[in-house]
Amino acid sequence: MKNTQPTTADLERQLKRRSKAAKLEVWGRVVSFSALILIVAVVVAIIGFVASKGIATFTTNHVNLWDFLTGKDWNPGIKDAHGKPEVGALSMIVGSFLITILSALIATPFAIGTAVFMNEISPNRGAKILQPVTELLVGIPSVVYGFIGLSVVVPFTRNVFGGSGFGILSGTCVLFVMILPTVTSMSADALRSVPRYYREASLALGATQWQTIWKVVLRAATPGLMTAVVFGMARAFGEALAVQMVIGNAALMPHTLVDPAATLTSVLTTGIGNTVMGSLQNNALWSLALVLLLMSLVFNLIVRLIGRKGRLH
């Protein structure tokens, strides 16, 4: 049953003919590349749209960029003593950062602790209970989170810490619960990617389970865990409806955690329907959106940097 072989000339012809696979390959490349181009077009369109509207505040309405970033008064409809519109976004930028960092600070230990539990201590229960619950929670609309925040968290904060209950603290609590599932499941992924022999080697050396987790697994998974946290922060930064319902939406510099404050998204969402396209008030809101966009770019670059460091490790 020997393979009968063609002559060299035939063979060359057969080998140099474009096979069906080669045609399919070109087709596949074209199809998948078009899909990518479509997404890129979408991204460029949205970013371009937000940028063009956001920049109009500075070009068309001649607002000073520095005043925008450092001013504390937000009343785009009103001119101040110097005849300039009051479009200082500092209080909102500070509010957004405070709420993001605080909620990430609280969520991180809980999320990583849970991820470790799911992955290292009780993988069975983790997979059976925590994962489905996590997936379920991602689908709950932010309105519902906000609603629960309003009827549970705000009164709680008011009774315990005084004030009206609206403020950074309540916002932090709500965001903490909102980003917990995301950070947890991403942390679990990071832990899962640590090779099993790391653990076996450590345990074989006589280390306890905790020492193995603390000194080996967590150390090896650090870049992945950082990515999870930064990703959670990015979500917190961009969250609108839920925060808006509990933070109070007062564009004032927050002095304590229980004073009403505002974030970029809450002011944006509250105001956008009440302003007229093309007016200064409207453009100023788009500038806030542009700040958000730039901030998510920064978060993204941080994630990438961590990723790269992890690879070199």
Binding site: A21, W27, I121, F147, Q209, E239
Partner: protein, 295 residues
Amino acid sequence: MLKAKLQNKIAIGALYGVAGIVVLILVALLGYILVSGMPQLSWHFLTAPAKAFLKGGGVGVQLFNSFYLLILAMLISFPIALGAAIYLYEYAKDNWVTSVVRTAIEILSSLPSVVVGLFGFLFFVVKLKLGFSILSGAFALTFFNLPLLTRNIEDSLHTISENQREGGLALGLSRWETVNKIILPAAVPSILTGVILSAGRVFGEAAALIYTAGQSAPALNFADWNPFNISSPLNPMRPAETLAVHIWKINSEGIMPDAKAISSGSSAVLVIAILLFNLAARYLGKRLYKRLTSA
């Protein structure tokens, strides 16, 4: 040694505690939603149309709209995300262009959805004259959904070992055939998780839809399945308020006397619907995986 053992015990105990607290928070949250919504649930509530200012309205139309919109949005966004993910993971060279594209896609996913909604409003509703319609909403949701879905699918492709690709290539298959016939079938379970997660987000999305699919839900004639009729449930050109938008609307401007009850009821319905959707998707996914991976 003793110290290490004690430390181990304490730490493991603490981890149990932390995981317990998290489970408690999550379960309490779900419990709160379900318990406060359950008394509202009835066949009437699930099927009746909403009422503008009288009590006794239901969420039948909204519930249908949510699912229809979800399916349409997925039908549009899944193939695009799949194609883009395949290109990014299987074909694209690892250089700065790819990295810029990835970054751009990811920053889109952290934009507040109201921005996507307004963009959709100006572009689809006004410019393309699609009006407030399911189709506009589905496109807006696609915009909102693409980054996340693309990323998820790319991650799923990543979980399939490189030696499967080599196996296909060594048989003289093109990369495209290898991906389609070997890698994707093997990645079905993990792609499915991504789809479920993004479906959940789509299902719960309100801000992107307020300006695109609209916030009114004209009564539907469920006996009329001709997609060209305005009262047909299948008509993609009709305005369609979804369940999440409905919750938002009655919380903000609702003047019906039973607004609070309807809002809690709708939240519970939403959670249950997501739960059912997850279970169904998982079941179908398992069947699909079986079919694709064995004769």
